[in-house]
Amino acid sequence: MFEHEVNPENIKKAAFVVAIPSYNEADTIAFPVQQADKGIQSFFGNMRSVIINCDNNSNDGTKEIFLGIRTGTPKIYISTEPGIKGKGNNFRNLFKKVVDLDAKGVVVVDADLKSITPKWIKHLGEPLFQDFGFVAPLYVRHKYDGTITNSIAYPLIRSLYGRRVRQPIGGDFGFCGELAQTYLQSDTWSDAVANFGIDIWMTTLAMNENIPICQAFMGRPKIHRAKDPGSDLGPMFRQVVGTIFSMMTKFYPLWSKAKWSKPTAIFGFGLGETEMPPPVEVNEEVLSQKFHEGFNSYGHIWERVLQRETVNKLQEIREMDPEQFDFPTPLWLNVLVDFAVAYKDKLWRLDELLDSLIPLYLSKTLSYVKKTERMSIRESEEFIEEECTQFEASKGLLIRRWNKKTGA
């Protein structure tokens, strides 16, 4: 039976909320709920707190499992209407509930987390009561994990808005109650945001609202349900990158004025020795193959949206010896700039336009894998930092292209 809300203890007000978004997470949700409860009891015991499961009306018993877990903290279950899916839609429900509860701080953690500890709740939540309004996670990740973040989200968001947030789509974060109201009132909501675009949307809005942001060091890698490597990358890629591009249009007056970038405060030390992430395997052949197939599938789109020199350069690297393959950072920057402009000017059907970026993104990933093959995690981080500096230095180019008539 569908229930929009189950609130067994009839909680009307709470200062602190830990929220766990879900869709069919019956087999995994118990662990993060238990860890969240321990975190609340240990570090926020003096506050009226609640754990909220914001769900997409799962049909695998997520609701029953969640409500059945014994916790010291009261729990509330809320759900989207039947048939309404999407992580972002869960968050929209959460924002409304946070406003109703008049909560001051909210921490969100994924329902399939296996590496969460009670201290994650502390580190993501405490800064919200110390002048910070948005807390992004800082995990130690394997150099090949999070490649959309490394190649697109982090360098673009950092160079656009001037704030360094290493994991802008980390999935686990904290935000203040006031920000929930801001999110509800924003006119930038879209279908992409209602799905996987939600994380980058929340981070970008927090930056543009000049909310004090910090990063919380989690001390452990994020380990969650293994994704099927054969699963379709398309929807997530489209939603995340599409959200970045559409926010660029909205926030042009701000990002066009931001120069270089500024760091953020770091929270969360004293976790003992940092745990190293598990290795991530990359199939270089598949990445190379997808790039080459892209010329047949999307070459006509690239011809339309990319500068002539960029297309020529892509042809050049197409001919490269696979062992020496290199996708230079300036070329990648040019590709992203042209795609962002094409998205703004609607030079092609937007879904297909974003799909056509995927083979290029995969080849950039291949290049990154080759370049960082012998690097430690720290060295690969420095490599990414260097790329970011190149992005920041090219801001003028982006602005010039953005303002140039494309003949859409």
Binding site: N210, P212, W260, F269
Partner: protein, 122 residues
């Protein structure tokens, strides 16, 4: 004229930075260590801090944390003789870093970038 606070326990470094940065058009003030650094920043209101990482009795990365928590947007350039500090996650709260050298070209570049960095208000 931008005001720069140099925090370093080595006198010759303080002197070198003072001379070169003054010549480059900055106003330079110095501190020999992290003692009452936050109060000093609060009082002197520098536009940028150059912070040594290894000082007798003080860890520059801990001082960086204190600075960042109290002065959210104050640019801090870390200065060190060893690059092993990058293993410490706290170092990313700095605007940038330089390896100590008698040639201050890199330091001046990083100072200029950090001072230019701006985030407009909505």
């Amino acid at each position: 004229m931008a005001k720069i606070l140099v925090v370093d326990d080595e006198e010759h470094i303080r002197l070198l930075y003072s001379e070169e940065l003054t010549e480059a058009g900055y106003e330079v003030i110095t501190a020999t260590d992290g003692y009452r650094l936050i109060e000093r920043i609060d009082k002197e209101k520098p536009d940028l801090v150059i912070l040594d990482i290894k000082m007798v009795g003080y860890n520059g990365l801990d001082l960086l944390q204190e600075i960042r928590n109290k002065f959210y947007n104050l640019p801090v350039v870390l200065c060190t003789a060893y690059d092993a500090f990058k293993e410490d996650i706290k170092s990313i709260a700095a605007d940038s870093y330089v390896i100590k050298s008698f040639d201050l070209t890199e330091l001046k570049k990083k100072i200029a970038m950090a001072l230019e960095a701006s985030i407009p208000s909505s």
